[in-house]
Symmetry: C2
Subunit: 128 residues, 2 copies
DNA sequence: TAGTTGTATTATATAACTTAATACAACTAA
DNA sequence: TTAGTTGTATTAAGTTATATAATACAACTA
């Protein structure tokens, strides 16, 4: 799977999920991981579209969803920027982690396993 | 969300995911949870379709995927049955649990968190 | 033999996603 | 002021996955 680097961001697109979803996820996780500085300017809609060889509308859709979450700020005529609000970034990171945990626990319960078993699974697994 | 009961199985369908996927998942988890006895006869393709108010082809697709996993056995002219092989059921249950754990750990790592943090999240969360 | 099973095929419909082309509004820099 | 870059909106078209419908056949049971 090809990796495209552009600025502080890197992207890997495939056909298993909607493109706009992959783009927004990879930006979201880059920021949550702390790989890009707050206030960083994102590539323009057209530039990113060209680099990823996808349609500008698809990039727009990703940017707009991130904007709704206040993870990025779009300024008409200027560009799109990562929020400078650390609180927001931290909260989104916590939420993503919590949601991942919650869906894991839900799956375990659907298999008739309890939280203790879930914990053991995490402890005993080889997650290299 | 309406629950439809039929034999030892119960179904809840919505529009968030493909119908055939929901049907196969709910059968898979029912069996993995041990709610249905090994060798149990499933509703016929047409019967289940009628009860769920969906197309027989959609039920077929669910059954065929479960058949490929050997979780069920289809016998032309007789019907469809849960496997009588306990080993298979146990292995599928373990696999589902493992996959859930793996995808949780993957998400955590994508957020720059380690396995220890993952474990703490599980421990400290209120999963009622 | 009649009725039930799983199975296959062909056609149609629909919704989500993606692309394309175009236009406009807001801002920056020359 | 002007040219070029931004985000944004709109309309149309194409693709794909999913689901339905109708029909037929093969394998089995009673």
């Amino acid at each position: 799977m090809e990796t495209i680097r552009i600025g502080d961001f890197s992207f890997q697109l495939d056909l298993t999920k909607p493109l706009y979803e992959q783009v927004l996820q990879q930006i979201r996780y880059s920021v949550a991981r702390g790989e890009v500085a707050l206030g960083t300017k994102l590539p323009s809609v057209r530039e990113l579209a060209q680099n990823l060889k996808i349609n500008p509308n698809t990039v727009m859709r990703a940017y707009q969803e991130l904007d709704r979450d206040h993870l990025i700020e779009t300024r008409r005529g200027q560009g799109t920027f990562i929020t400078d609000n650390l609180k927001i970034v931290e909260q989104i990171r916590q939420n993503l982690a919590y949601e991942a945990a919650r869906s894991f626990i839900t799956a375990m319960k659907e298999l008739g396993m309890d939280v203790h078993t879930a914990k053991s699974l995490i402890e005993e697994g080889d997650w290299t």
